[in-house]
Symmetry: C2
Amino acid sequence: MLRSLKNLKTAPIQRQLARSTLAYQPVRTLATAVGSGRIGTHANEKSFFPDEPQQPQVKTAIPGPSSKEIMQRLNQYQDTRSVFYIADFAKSKGNYIVDADGNALLDLFAQIASIPIGYNSPAFLALTSSPAFQSALANRPALGVNPTKDWVDAVEQAFMSVAPKGMSNVFTAMCGSCANENAFKAAFMYQAGKRRGDKEFTMEELQSCMKNQAPGSPDMSVLSFAQGFHGRLFGSLTTTGSKAIHKVDIPAFDWPKAPFPQRKYPLEDNVEHNQKVEQQCLEETERLIKTWKSPVAAVVIEPVQSEGGDNHASPDFFRKLQQICIKNDVLFIVDEVQTGVGATGTFWAHEAWNLPTPPDMVTFSKKFQAAGFYGHPKLRPAQPYRLYNTWMGDPVRAMQAAAIVREVKDKDLLQNVSRVGEYLQKELKEISRKYGKIQDVRGQGTFIAFDLPTAQDRDSLIGEMRKNGVNIGGCGDRAIRLRPMLTFQMKHADIFLDTLEKSIAKA
Amino acid sequence: MLRSLKNLKTAPIQRQLARSTLAYQPVRTLATAVGSGRIGTHANEKSFFPDEPQQPQVKTAIPGPSSKEIMQRLNQYQDTRSVFYIADFAKSKGNYIVDADGNALLDLFAQIASIPIGYNSPAFLALTSSPAFQSALANRPALGVNPTKDWVDAVEQAFMSVAPKGMSNVFTAMCGSCANENAFKAAFMYQAGKRRGDKEFTMEELQSCMKNQAPGSPDMSVLSFAQGFHGRLFGSLTTTGSKAIHKVDIPAFDWPKAPFPQRKYPLEDNVEHNQKVEQQCLEETERLIKTWKSPVAAVVIEPVQSEGGDNHASPDFFRKLQQICIKNDVLFIVDEVQTGVGATGTFWAHEAWNLPTPPDMVTFSKKFQAAGFYGHPKLRPAQPYRLYNTWMGDPVRAMQAAAIVREVKDKDLLQNVSRVGEYLQKELKEISRKYGKIQDVRGQGTFIAFDLPTAQDRDSLIGEMRKNGVNIGGCGDRAIRLRPMLTFQMKHADIFLDTLEKSIAKA
């Protein structure tokens, strides 16, 4: 861990830019140059975007001179050390991102897994000419006070039409972190309310909370899992455990972290071991719930630990975890901020678990453009104005969410994801057998990852892939995570796979 | 406090609706019916919105039958107990909000102080036909990874063109709570980094933070003020102290709260007393900074405590507070989420303090449509990815912020606010002398408040005003806060003032 942190020390922007710039390569049209033979085999596939680029094209180093110039200008006002390159979204289309230097990259990172239906989706562009959308933009409501007439339609079309089975309520928010934090607040109020029963707040509670003291500010906790990621604000960051650099120097609550199963791959060869580690994690989770120094109000977990390295567990693990929650009177919160909205092949990843009863809350953001959580009406606090803020969400983004739902249905995108995901996983396992460097291929739908032997190998492969016109991202210590859009097709998979084979040798 | 909380216990939606419904009054066009004689005296004033209603019009009880029907439908999915009525934003215009029943109210609450330049502002509507805006909407970037070419223009036009003097950096976020929480995080990292100097993180720090334990998760604090409001997420809610109902049952950090000056009015008759209470608060603040159980990394304060009752302090108080921060090596954060963007007569309320050196951070949201904080480049953490998240703000809302800045300049809206604010304050003081119920008129620009004798009197006046076609809001225990838009003119002030005089008698 320390080694990779060494690279993070501050440096003048010029040096940072120089370091992040990939060595310049002469102009090349890349798809034709790669030779593993998949490209072209799905030429008959009907394209979701007939006008997107046919293949990646890399003209300059990335970031190129125009990106660098804009980054320098932006760096006067904002920290640009994390910026890869400057996008030209006006020219980006479908599954391809075009940068300020005119390089067109096949994008399997998609703005950290948050582009749902392609760049410049006609479904999104059409919104701008709709009077209802224009009104939503020009009149940002305080939804808790004055929702507009159309809001209930947006709630039904965007959120309720795809609500997880058995979940009838939705609380809307602004981003993944605040979706999770509001879910935590709902859990705390629910547990405190249950203990209180029909009684009023005591004067001691009301006075002590104004001083941030118990009993008004109670010592309760949310249990999360090692390597989990739930956001970066103070409550959500406490439950996050993916990387030390996200947490160090920031005060945190004294809340527990349970171990998440570290499964061995391939799964079929490690059935017994994996069952055992899952069982151990469940036992430790229950032990923590029963013995932690403060009452555990809720458990929060991702269906796939994403930022933390794409760690999967079995449906059986999640079913048993829910049972532990029910048995111990702890709420079960599923964080679908990254897994939600189709990429695993079901609209919500937790659908694959076949739970006997719905989770208590399911949080969302990212690809849905809008954020919030689903829950049961029992989670409405007994008093109004407690789960509340000025905006309570954003109708503009909710109307986009409704457009996404329509596109997913109209274009049968879940079926597309399942089909392409299956192909990608099969081919990646083949590549893994061929090249030892690609390890532990794992995934659900197109939500796929694999490991490289070291962080350096991983970073080097990301760089080589970008030079070859394919944009991918990392996660965890040494994993590559694939986060294509729902519109990622077989022909794109072929370009990615051939480019990967070509890049492995060099990386 | 307990008394007002009794009303908050849960109740079926039907009863809630019935209770919040004002008694039905026959249709009336209200401006002509009020008789204090101001209406019409500013008839020659050039209107910012020639096509807005000329006067309020109330046709039904509020909420009326259409509002109630939509509220019932929405209540299946979302808690509607805080909803006053359903808006029809397509029909709202300028300073008037129209509801689902066709009632037109002169709006001095403006979506909890967050509408800047009128409903259906042509400046906002024009954006929707701009290709750059359409691209921003259809391609939501991860700004920390792939800002688009236009982003730097939006940063310059929206944020830097009105940056508080001496502040060259801006961190963009999603809402006021996360603006404040990111400012707190920046403060913690800055203070920890200063102590660390050139040293690397220790292994102990990196390992302990993953368990939410010191030294990696350090015991540091942010000092805030009693009655302050800084948001509702876990860190920001800890610094909030406006109402117990916002805080009770939610775990909080053990951070200190200093007293905020409780000034007596009228100011000119209480100079000595007010100086004395301000001095006492400053002394107690410094004592807390020096003796609190954890190091105080930053002080956060609102220029006017808004949610907490519109409590003002003198420029001298804020200058001395900054000096205390400087002397004790504590960062000075000014929370302008509600006061910013013009309503006090300057673009930022803290401009009125004439500070000798800029605050360390200034946070914003609400009327700016976009959220974030200004700061000094020294606050960039030594390592990247620490003040970071997926979206890092919203270009769509930043482009609206740029449009607001243009409107403020083109229409000289600060001058309008100053002129109308001065008139409102003068007339309100007159009304206060006439009717004892209106007490302690106070304000800067149109950011004005006054007290009623009790919470019940206040709530009753809000109800009576709404029946008479004017929408106002409360804050604190018994205050009315006026939060008109920047486009609120003399003729609107006349309608408000005459309606107030008419309503006081009945309330």
